[in-house]
């Protein structure tokens, strides 16, 4: 049993985002948490501006949002929790994010094999019919969780 699937949204926010320093630094907020389908918000933050003249967020912050959201989508698809790592992430920036708008990423893990998981993601800033980015990610799955298992109690 994957212990993530028993978590509430608030618990999942703590375990999947707040403990990850870079996700925490970006202020990521878990909005929807369902197996294979994850929604995460990146609130507008002046520290993340890429173009000081327009106030538009830097693409790198969007890349981090997309990578995080895709990774969580993979983890919630697994029957037993295993460590995963991004091997490939491709992002198309369809347009710039609007200043002062929260960017929302929706990621769906649509295929998992024993070793590899495939994810598709989109991002918008308020209107889901007006996307600002689309992405495709590929993740490799490891046999175990890693040396410092945050879900140690669920190992049995």
């Amino acid at each position: 049993m994957n212990p993530l699937l028993k978590l509430t949204l608030v618990q999942a926010q703590q375990v999947m985002i707040d403990v990850v320093p870079q996700s925490h630094a970006l202020g990521l907020k878990l909005v929807e948490f369902a197996p294979s389908r994850i929604v995460v918000d990146l609130p507008y933050d002046a520290r993340l501006i890429g173009d000081p003249e327009t106030g538009v967020l830097h693409g790198g912050a969007i890349t981090t949002l997309v990578d995080s959201t895709c990774g969580i989508a993979v983890l919630t698809t697994l029957r037993t929790l295993r460590r995963c790592a991004t091997i490939d992430l491709r992002i198309d920036y369809l347009r710039a994010a609007r200043p002062n708008q929260t960017v929302r990423c929706i990621a769906e893990c649509h295929r998992v094999t024993h070793e590899i998981a495939f994810v598709r993601a989109t991002a918008h800033d308020g209107d889901s019919s007006d996307l600002l980015a689309t992405a495709a990610g590929t993740f490799v799955l490891f046999e175990t969780l890693g040396t410092h298992d945050i879900f140690g109690e669920a190992k049995t």
Binding site: S23, L48, G50, H58, G60, T64, L65, D67, I87, L89
Partner: protein, 165 residues
């Protein structure tokens, strides 16, 4: 027009280095630019805030993508032909090794610098440039079409055959 690979003088690159720090996100990332002759190297200084996997204490993949994107833009700006700040159209990132708790560097190569689009390859490495932690290809829009002229006019076959790059 200047030759495709003509570089700006080293002094102009040196003048660019402090300009990068005016970008808030570059400061967030701990990004600085180093000059190596007329080439540039992007550097992301390690801080704990860059960690993406606290279990294995590896850097967040998004920060490596951001480092490579910033380095690619700076590389394009070192070419005399680049007159506007390029806009990222797309980036495809390969994660090759887990990136540890040290500084990360990136080097970019411009594979094609056209009138509208530039294609750039980037590698990111930590201790050894021959053992990259990530690689990427990115494409950038170099010149934006003036407002009011966004929809391209239908062209006749005659016009197409005349157009040479």
């Amino acid at each position: 027009m200047s030759a495709p690979d003509e570089k700006v003088p080293a002094e102009q690159i040196d003048a660019m280095l402090p300009e990068i720090l005016k970008i808030p996100y570059a400061r967030h990332l701990g990004f600085t630019l180093l000059r190596d002759g007329t080439d540039i190297i992007g550097r992301m200084a390690y801080t704990d805030a860059l960690i993406g996997n606290p279990q294995v204490r590896a850097l967040h993949g998004g920060t490596l993508g951001a480092l490579m994107e910033l380095t690619a833009v700076c590389k394009l700006l070192t070419l005399a032909r680049t007159t506007q700040v390029p806009k990222t159209v797309g980036i495809s990132i390969e994660y090759l090794r887990s990136a540890g708790r040290v500084d990360t560097f990136a080097r970019a190569t411009v594979t094609r610098h056209g009138r509208r689009v530039a294609n750039v390859r980037i590698i990111a490495y930590q201790d050894d440039p021959l053992r990259p932690v990530a690689a990427a290809t990115a494409h950038f829009l170099l010149a934006t079409t003036p407002a009011g002229a966004r929809e391209p006019k239908p062209v006749s076959t005659g016009e197409l055959s005349r157009s040479t790059p």
